[in-house]
Amino acid sequence: MLAEEGDRLYALALRVTRDGDLAADAVHDAFAAALEGLGEFRGEARLSTWLYRIVYRKAIDLLRRRGREQPLEEADEAALAAEDGGGRAAAWARPPDELLLGAESRQALERALQELSPQQRAVFELREVEQRPTEEVAEVLGIPAGTVRVYLHRARLKLRERLSPHFRGGRTR
């Protein structure tokens, strides 16, 4: 379970906290809480959804306890934007035009994501990156599906505004 879910849970926690240590703590604390509360898992939700929900709450709690949002360290930013290290598609495997959306675009994306709230970032990570269904994202965050759509749309518009030079529409404007 850890092998399958660990990276996904860490990605959500990192997106929310923007801090590698806090994110790792959130995942650890979530597994500890899940072990304690396993009896409460009723099987109505998928196990992964249940774990996502616990990690999300732990990440928000840790962020609140820290008291304020911290900017992402450059090393973390570079790691998030890196081409290698478990990436889903190798840069060399893509046609030259697609390389326009390369490491530079990813760094710009990470910077732009700092402007979103932790909740918006969680919606963005789960829906846009992980492609989880809207209803599942709503369940994880404890908000209505319509609110998930609104958060995601606002996040997309804000990111588009910041990243438009990297996109096709922006390059032709």
């Binding site: 850890l2 990276d7 849970l9 860490y10 990192l14 650890h28 072990l35 994306l109 846009e128």
Partner: protein
């Protein structure tokens, strides 16, 4: 459909939550409105950028700590 309405409907359109008739209206509008078509293309590029970005890995020390926890040997 005008640009304002398209912008209001865009979240549901992108989420596949719009009824077929409204979807068709959105698509007709996109075919004839360059600024809205640019928006649509940019949002597709954003989606591609996100989905092609590497997922960060849970650091090894954290993974080991959690493995010990799951085996009942820590915390």
């Amino acid at each position: 459909m005008k640009c304002d309405e398209l912008k209001r409907r865009f979240a549901e359109y992108n989420d596949g939550a719009l009824p077929d008739d409204l979807c068709a209206e959105v698509e007709r509008h996109l075919a004839g409105c360059p600024p809205c078509a640019d928006l649509d293309r940019d949002l597709q590029d954003l989606q591609r950028l996100c989905r092609e970005s590497p997922r960060p890995c849970l650091p090894e020390d954290a993974r080991k700590r959690i493995e010990r926890l799951l085996q009942g040997g820590e915390d």
